[in-house]
Subunit: 251 residues, 4 copies
């Protein structure tokens, strides 16, 4: 078996496409954002990527049909100068080799379809819930910084301290060194304790400004508020419980 | 060394064969069921599959002869429209790559011998002992559901929640996506705490109806009852012990 | 880099050689026995096997020179019908793939030099110290049993229960299935808690009778006695300590 | 993707170059020393080595640009008989295979550019802080010992007991067995608890004498003193705390 099996569904000419990558990861920020764009822009599937670098697993759909885990690439013809291409999927590669091979495969496709710029989306774990998650950036060329800053991305020195682990970083690094492609990584701050639509929303807000596109944000806003209520309630209960215990202790 | 070494013992023409796969796994349900069919139908070995994807281990037979661990494929000529082919073995592949490569190898053989439909057998761990294990299903095509339901398979939405991990799911997923083969997975409910012939028996009951075949079930019924007595006795002793401890505590 | 690099030092014609394999493992029984034969028969190195299937490590010799870890094959011309070939080494392969690839490599060499019979040596862990370790056997052909029994090997049914894991079993299993070679595994009983020259000595005693060869056993007898004294002293101290504690407890 | 991607920046003829390897490891002694030479001799980058044998990670530079992790080789034309080549990098290979493949790759480059002698630098963990770390040696040829001893390297028998694990040992071992290259490993004693510039300084002192070169040591001396003050203060505080606790206990 080939280690990676790419199935191409559409042989279509795209206009200087921009690739956006969002796979599962910290707070699932990248995945939530990428899946949301695919859904809201009603994008068309272009490629499926099956691989032994992904878990040996099928999911079961609502109609009881098995879904072999995969990464997929979707496209959307846009009015502006750049068509849009999204990398989404069920898992990141599960080993070091898997990470490199799958990222390299995506870059080969990107090159083949003429991708002009890459944005990878991810989460940046800060270990606590914040009201207004920042979106941190990293780039392949320092000339990209100014434009992103204008659109709300921050570039604090020394953050993230350990760099970027996984596909969000690797696609940029390999793209820069081996494919001569430019790109930026957008990382939404997240507690890292649960799937975080609020952080994904902030990433999407930045991305819309950066790309000059418009996505209907109502659904993800609703989901963010639901999560806020749950986490807010949890915090409250925790506080109440502590108060009661304190009373009990002293009573 | 080739990563997988297939040894073919019989070059025989089979009539639109149905492949049934049952390897070790949760409650060993799939393995118990598959081995039972091989034994009761007195099936003939067609292939041995040796591989470095299996543990570096030999078992020792009763005559002190070593048995290199393997997967094997057996066949049986049947009167009806479909001959029968069984995948059985000592282990599943032990890594992610192993799972993909061995499942792919089985599918290549399935294609070569003209397999028309695949059933994979497995266990579905529910963490407790049940009187009457259900048999859950998942399919490669929703049109397969009705027939299976008629024969006693259930398709509860959202179960199993995590999908199917390992060869029982992967053979279906790869078969569907890369080999254009149809199949169904039959999962017997099991506590998951021990090898479970009762669950395997329920899977075999469903399978007989589905395939219109007849297997002598007396041995597996006996084994199921033995296990029931053991687990029943364990539960009873546990209850007695608890009662005594309760008495002791209050006495 | 080739995954296995074989360096051949001697291109010599051997007379229907017998291969004896003894690599590190349980109680280091196989390694101690194999290394002892190499030393006492003053055997000549024929092959070095370097490989990334072994740890990335060098040892440092007494003259401060590094020794890259390896497996090696030694030979000795004998008067009888069979010359002797020994597989010895610093490590077994460290992964499943490593085990298969290195065992297969050894078998390829065995085939090339015309090996007529294989004996693999190992330990069988029984979790306690025994006065007189038995030597258990497993074979590739049941016709080999009688002769080995005559020379002191025992074949208790169901032992070792889990079969044989690692190169001692795999070389036999692969030799039997893929190389059509016969062989036997000789396993000396050992506590498994320390390197066990006494168990190795018993294995060597059996092997001498089986092969009709004579090895000077004085050194390994001395080492066995030293180990016996140490473990005996440990047991005694443990007993004394227990007695004192008992006295203290009641005193 | 190739498992190792070598990018050559300079095609330059070097004069019987000496290769010095210093990658991350125990106390980071080798890396600190190698990076220091690159910086102080203002060496020029000759090769980048990217690989899936390294973590799937990018670091982020001060200008927010991603840095794909790598190993690199630098050179410096020297006045004496030997030019200088340094192997430095972000990580060692992360698996056994990675260690062998990357070391082999470095040796292939070494051969191609005509390297005449190899020094690998590393740390030797002794589990405690020492005032004056010794520099231990191991060689590929015992004739190399005398010269190194003259320059301050010690060769205590039986140290390091477990040999040398990782690239510092493997480059020597593979160089010796498969490339017919000579080399020595210089190991600075270190507690192993933190990055240890003091141990690296001692290694550099030896190396300067051995190679007859002169490196400005003022910066690393400063860093060593800073570390000494921190570890000294920590030891003092620990002592004070113990004294107070003792007083408290008796007071």
């Amino acid at each position: 078996m080939e280690k990676i099996v790419v199935i191409k569904y559409k042989d279509i000419k795209l206009k200087s496409p921009i690739l956006i990558g969002g796979l599962p990861g910290i707070g699932n920020v990248g995945k939530i954002a990428a899946d949301y764009i695919v859904e809201k822009l009603n994008m068309t599937k272009m490629y499926d990527i099956f691989s032994q670098y992904l878990p040996p697993q099928v999911f079961i759909n609502d109609d009881s049909v098995v879904h072999l885990v995969r990464n997929s690439i979707y496209y959307k013809k846009m009015r502006g100068k750049h068509d849009l291409v999204i990398l989404a999927g069920d898992f990141q590669g599960t080993t070091q080799e898997a990470q490199y091979e799958l990222s390299y495969q995506v870059l080969q496709i990107a090159k083949e379809i003429g991708v002009s710029m890459i944005y990878t989306l991810g989460g940046y774990s800060i270990g606590k819930i914040v009201d207004k998650p920042r979106v941190l950036g990293a780039v392949t060329d320092k000339n990209l910084v100014a434009d992103l800053e204008k659109n709300g991305v921050v570039f604090p020195k020394g953050e993230p301290g350990g760099g970027i682990v996984g596909s969000a970083g690797l696609i940029l690094g390999l793209g820069m060194e081996l494919f001569n492609m430019n790109g930026a990584c957008l990382m939404g701050e997240t507690s890292g304790y649960f799937a975080d639509p609020k952080s994904a929303m902030e990433v999407l807000n930045v991305l819309q400004r950066q790309l000059g596109i418009k996505i209907d944000m109502s659904d993800i806003e609703t989901r963010s508020k639901q999560i806020e209520q749950i986490t807010g309630k949890m915090a409250e209960e925790f506080q109440n419980k502590q108060n009661k215990e304190d009373l009990g202790y002293f009573g």
